[in-house]
């Protein structure tokens, strides 16, 4: 437990506190009056309002579209289910930058809708909402669907035998069992959309700004640290509240549900209604998820004179982007992969140790620690990135010029995923198996190696994959600390998108495609090694 605590203290709490302190302290005294001033600003009020309502709307829309899919995945068996599950999950691990550019390609200027119907949505809030749904579809499908598939259908059957109608049985038996999972998923979606950065940055234009985007603007553009510090605190408070409620619902979910093997609960759809439902879900996935990705790929090949590899070739030279880069953009691929591997290793060690500590101990303190681990998911990545710059630049931690800074920041985001993936599996290891090993003469460490490790090996791989994909796509913090001559993929994409010209746009699409392929491949590999015990993904 000491290692994860030290890691979080040094690389999370310290930078965040330092930057907040720098913003709110002047002349050695705390200026809490600033908080009132900033919050009283009508512009900031507008940002707060927009952040909240777009998050609520995104969450509602995601639930509406994804809950039927959760049902379909839980209860129906159909050819290609495995593949579809992977496809649905791809967006979640895609970098926000890619999602942004994909939607730009569909909804934006010169995008698919513009070509077909002259429709442009990139400056409307719909673009943001749809991108958020795209992004979080998998959260609902996996969290709710995972549990749903493990609910014994015989429970409902028992209710039916006792005289409940089809809907009444669902409402009285299944829904109460499912409700905490739905609540947990909704809260996670709310959290992700509340703190959304890359998507809003790319699709929002100047008219829409979430807290996180505003923090970035205040920090990077206006150098108004006090305002940024206040906003960071506001976001911190909001995220803390959401996580507290989330922890509470998750705890309720862990209460005595009798779960069964998901393989036995699914069957072929029967009747027109069920086939129509399956069809509807397939169409949703097709339009909402596959279409943007397909258009993204298409745009990356489409030059002014027909399809070709023009943009991909341009990525190989530094001056192709009109001086945007010091190095060929393609080098970003190599940078990203190296960073992500290191970040994954760090996240696995820290997250693995944390999960092990959480499994062994119980109590209030541990629960607090559990919530603490989730904080990096919600606390402004921009703040963390900037905090790294101003705190880790002097002895004893002069890491500013070190390459390790980027993986450290990325690992911070990866750890919660590692913990979330490992925890249910570790907890599922029957403690008495460990006891059986102990009675047979295995020391505690040996018992862990012989009993726990073989059972969690697959979960460990899945966790590694998640951490890898998340590190690969991390944008908010990396954008601050990646050095100009060592950009990562998302940073390079954002830079290209920030420049005018077809060549830059095309290159951004090409680079996004590469990033998407890398993420998708790592995810598909993961689907292959999915643990037997369904990792329902407590995101």
């Amino acid at each position: 437990m000491a290692v994860p605590l030290a890691f979080f203290g040094l690389f999370f709490a310290y930078p965040v506190i330092a930057i907040v302190g720098r913003g709110l302290k002047s002349g050695g005294t705390w200026q809490f009056g600033r908080i009132g001033e900033v919050l009283g600003d009508p512009d900031i009020g507008g940002v707060l309002w927009f952040t909240t309502w777009q998050a609520a709307a995104s969450t509602a829309l995601t639930l509406l579209l994804a809950l039927p899919a959760a049902y379909v995945f839980a209860r129906f068996d159909f050819p290609g289910k495995q593949l579809l599950r992977a496809v649905v999950t791809v967006p979640f691990v895609l970098p926000t930058v890619v999602v942004g550019s994909a939607f730009l390609a569909v909804l934006g200027r010169g995008g698919l809708l513009a070509e077909l119907w002259g429709l442009r949505l990139d400056t409307s809030v719909w673009a943001i909402l749809l991108a958020h749904v795209f992004f979080n579809y998998a959260v609902v499908v996996r969290t709710v669907g995972g549990l749903w598939s493990q609910l014994d259908p015989r429970q409902e059957e028992a209710a039916r035998v006792l005289g409940a109608g089809r809907f009444a049985a669902w409402r009285k038996v299944t829904l109460p069992a499912l409700a905490p999972a739905v609540a947990a998923a909704a809260l996670m979606v709310f959290l992700f959309t509340f703190t959304s950065f890359g998507v809003v940055q790319i699709l929002g234009g100047p008219s829409f700004s979430t807290l996180e985007v505003e923090i970035y603007r205040q920090t990077a553009q206006f150098l108004d640290l006090p305002t940024a510090a206040v906003l960071t605190l506001v976001q911190f408070a909001a995220v803390g509240t959401i996580l507290a409620v989330h922890a509470w619902t998750v705890r309720r979910r862990e209460s005595a549900l009798r779960l069964v093997d998901p393989a036995r609960t699914a069957r072929r759809p029967r009747g027109a209604g069920q086939w129509a439902l399956l069809g509807g879900v397939l169409v949703t996935v097709l339009v909402l998820i596959l279409l943007p990705l397909a258009v993204l790929v298409e745009r990356s090949f489409q030059g002014p004179d027909g399809y070709g590899f023009r943009y991909y070739r341009a990525l190989q030279s530094a001056d192709g982007g009109g001086g945007t880069f010091l190095v060929p953009p393609l080098e970003a691929v190599w940078n990203s992969l190296q960073y992500a591997v290191v970040a994954t290793l760090i996240a696995l060690v820290v997250g693995g140790l944390a999960a092990a500590a959480l499994t062994r101990r119980a109590g209030r303190l541990v629960r607090g620690f559990d919530a603490l681990l989730m904080l990096p998911l919600g606390v402004s990545a921009v703040t963390v990135g900037f905090g790294f710059l101003i705190t880790l630049n002097q002895p004893p931690f002069d890491l500013r010029t070190s390459w390790i800074l980027v993986p450290l920041a990325q690992a911070l985001v990866g750890v919660p995923f590692v913990v979330r993936t490992m925890l249910p599996v570790l907890r599922a290891v029957d403690g008495r198996l460990r006891e059986a090993a102990a009675v047979l003469g295995a020391s505690p460490l040996r018992a862990w190696r012989e009993v726990d490790l073989p059972m969690v090996r697959r979960a460990l791989l899945v966790a590694a994959g998640f951490a890898f994909a998340v590190s690969l796509g991390e944008f908010g913090a990396t954008v601050f600390i990646a050095r100009p001559d060592n950009p990562t993929l998302p940073v390079a994409v954002a830079r290209l998108l920030g420049r005018a010209g077809d060549l830059n746009y095309g290159q951004a699409m090409a680079l996004s495609t590469i990033l998407m392929v890398v993420c998708a491949v790592s995810l598909l590999v993961l689907e292959r090694i999915r643990p037997d015990r369904s990792v329902s993904g407590e995101f």
Binding site: L433, A436, A438, G441, A442
Partner: protein, 347 residues
Amino acid sequence: MTDTAAKPLLDLQAATVRFGARAALDTVDLSVAAHEIVCVLGPSGSGKSTLLRAVAGLQPLDSGRVLLEGRDQTGVPVHKRGVGLMFQDHQLFPQRDVGGNVAFGLRMHGAGRAEQTERVAELLELVGLPGAQRRAVATLSGGEQQRVALARALAPRPALLMLDEPLGQLDRSLRERLVVELRQLFERLGTTVLAVTHDQGEAFALADRVVVMRDGRIAQSGTPLEVWQRPASEFVARFLGFDNVVEATVTGEAADTVWGKIPVPAGAPQGGARLLVRPAGVRLVPVADGLPCTVLARTFRGHHVAVQLRPADGPLLEAECPLRDAPDVGAQVGAVFAADEVVLLEG
């Protein structure tokens, strides 16, 4: 107790385990001699599983001591105690095959590969599953799992083998066969065994000595015959299924009860007491010759019929009677009592 040979293999001294306000083990003193098979019998919640876990070191004691071969085990971790424990639901390692499960303890004790192979084969032979090394644990039936669990527990040659409800999950006929096999096996190997069960049939068939537990305390300890013939208390009597218990006042060789005068064994303590008449000691006679009763129910018990009787006054009576003599439900019969089936209970 200076002579080491006289020291019991296992010695619990005032062992106490509390869960909150409730004592799961309440100053329990218990010793098990080498090669002895002791069976702890009690209803669920009586603390029997806690007893095993305390001996294994899985459950720390709140006070008292556990001694194994005379050595205090306080602070000795589970894996250094050298005891074997067969878990209630076996807890076979699902990711290992049968051979891997049985070899586990041997590996932990640093046995060489050749020794492991040999010992695994020997044990699987012993438990009646020769050649099952490569089978997956998931493909085993309940009885087979039980055998593998036993082989696994025996493999490292534990000084003391503990069994937690060893046959609890098996069906009746298998249980009856296995309990005989187990007893023969333990006698042959000279294993010292401490088993817990809630099934009296199992306990009496398996054990050299039976220990009855109630609410974390030992209610009675003795050979199966002693416990069966002389239940020490009403609790033990009722737990063993004897319900013919009545308030009595003993004078000389007879006791006054609501069932009338009942003969008691010679030398019984005088005065007020609780008195048990075992069903075998209730004989049915024509109604005029004994305590008048109405037959309430008859239950077929294989070699006899249990007849439930309602006397004019006092609690219901159970009588054992031969198959062909069983009266019909509703019949009026008389009951007389045999002194040698009467037990005076304490407390």
